[in-house]
Amino acid sequence: MKHRKWWHSLLLYTVVIVWSFIVLFPFYWLLTTSLKKPLAVARGPRYIPFVDFNPTTEHWQYLFDEQGETTLRHFRNSVIAASGSTVFSVLIGSMAGYGLSRFRYRWKFPPWRNNDIAFWIISQRFLPPALFVVPFLMIYSALGLVDTHAGLIIAYTMFNVPFAVWIMRDFFDNLPTDLEDSARVDGATRWQAFVRIVLPLSAPGLVSVAIFSFVFSWNEFLYALMLTNFDAITLPVFIAGQNNTRGVQWWYISALTLTAVAPVVLIGLLLERFITSGLIAGAVKG
């Protein structure tokens, strides 16, 4: 093994420490701000609890006790919209991914084969959502879908499906076909082989797709802002709305922000390898 020069190591650790600080400090600041009394926030930065300010849990109590109904409603809306669209995206995405990986399609109009179809599908993911602002507003109000969970689930599914197809197609391409082949020799239909043999083997790919769909829907802002106005408002829109009420109340915003961020950051910390593999399937194979 080669030995690193000392300045090489110094540089390495400096970068790692500086960047970790840049990443972690805002999280620390959110946490401490959510525990500060309004005065401790207003009187310039206070850094360490018990040393230069007295922590209080009153803002957390306010959010989850006094105002608990409202907070939990938005939290629930986010959970429903995100998990609903995740279920559909995983289902539709894995089916199409399997199809594109195992069969040869030949469309007459437009005259496309598998690769063209796959490219068309992924290209939908990159269309600017602003294009859909007007049609979705008009169609949704005509169909009565504004401010409903179903409306959000439908819109998010449309955005999640392309990426789901892309990841699952890549996953199935790398999955050996022996087991499903022998199942079919034993008389199973394609569909049975897909449901009983292929899907159980695809857990890592499905988990990747589920994480991406969930996190995207959980974090989405434009559609939620446009298509909800009271009942179905999700956490991001609720947080953004804190802007105008009574000036900027940093202590509530910090607590709310941590509430909105905690589930997805936890998912990220626990399932890091699925995210990496999904991203790589999405980006490298492109």
Binding site: I22, P45, F103, F126, T157, A240
Partner: protein, 311 residues
């Protein structure tokens, strides 16, 4: 049978993407307003007359939405801002992301936990990132502001260092890019790191045997091999930044004036605040054209950079 697998995805996209796309294109050639049931025409003497409109559909077909664009200062500003966010954003994120990937590629103790920590911002809700950024760049209560005050005090400056992060039209776009970068540099790092780990070790060994320095290895081996994947991540990030709205809504609301407004935000305001559906749809097509130009350039670059394989 094989159609069963593909049809749901294609149906979803046709129904929810292609159909609205054409709908939107149609709307962009009309004067449809929110809630308007009947078409109106303003006659020469200024009175407003109700009529049946285009084919009796309650609106008029018009080219005015496109014709008025060159005179719309606010639109031009929004387009310029959006291009700025994309170019400044991908540049900063790519350079820092590449640097961090190089660091994470080195073996050192605690590398796995550091990798996970570096990933955290990417998972956050952009709205939350924006509020956090606003808090970090606040000019009175933020640690950064205090740091600047302390520095000016120590140096005995007559005019204390003061950066109007979000309130000055020439600084605020940079601050927004910084906030977006904090969130998305990990994405660049993660994928470039995966690319680096896929480079076979014997290429490096051979270079070292030939006496190449680390800098030469980076410049002549690592960087060129990563070019195609670099083009891909820049393309993906660029396309994502074209959509930017959440960070701006929360930090500056598009201000001061419309100095930080992006196209997506202007479209949103035109449709929801002003209720002018026709114009909003027309602008969204301008955004689409910008996106297509950007993507075409990058796809061409990728094709040029990717080593040709047989078949």
């Amino acid at each position: 049978m094989k159609q069963v697998f593909l049809t749901p995805a294609v149906a979803v996209l046709l129904l929810l993407s292609i159909f609205p796309l054409f709908w939107s294109l149609g709307i962009s050639f009309t004067d449809v307003q929110r809630g308007s049931a009947a078409a109106t025409t303003t006659t020469d003497d200024g009175t407003v007359v109700e009529d049946s409109g285009f084919l009796g559909l309650g609106f008029h077909a018009t080219l005015r939405n496109y014709a008025r664009m060159p005179e719309d200062e606010r639109l031009l500003t929004a387009a310029r801002n959006t291009l700025f966010y994309v170019l400044a954003g991908v540049t900063i994120q790519y350079i820092i992301g590449f640097g961090l990937a190089l660091v994470l590629h080195q073996p050192f103790r605690g590398r796995n936990i550091i990798r996970v920590i570096f990933l955290m911002p990417m998972m956050m809700t952009p709205v939350a990132v924006a509020y956090t950024g606003r808090m970090m760049f606040d000019t009175s209560i933020a640690p950064l502001a205090q740091l600047l005050r302390t520095i000016s005090h120590t140096l005995g400056l007559e005019r204390p260092l003061f950066i109007p992060w979000l309130t000055d039209g020439s600084v605020a776009p940079w601050t927004i890019v910084l906030i977006d970068s904090w969130q998305w540099i990990p994405f660049m790092t993660l994928i470039l790191l995966a690319g680096m780990q896929a480079i076979p070790e014997d290429i490096y060994e051979a270079a070292r045997v030939d006496g190449a320095s680390s800098w030469q290895i980076l410049r002549k081996i690592t960087f060129p091999i990563l070019l195609p994947i670099s083009a891909t991540v820049i393309l993906i990030r660029g396309l994502e930044i074209f959509k930017i709205i959440d960070v701006i809504v929360v930090t500056t609301g598009g201000g001061p004036g419309s100095a930080t407004e992006s196209l997506t935000m202007y479209i949103f305001k035109t449709a929801l605040t002003f209720g002018n559906y026709g114009y909003a749809a027309a602008i969204s097509y301008i955004l689409l054209i910008l996106v297509i130009i950007f993507a075409t350039i990058f796809l061409a670059a990728m094709r040029y950079l990717t080593p040709r394989t047989s078949g």
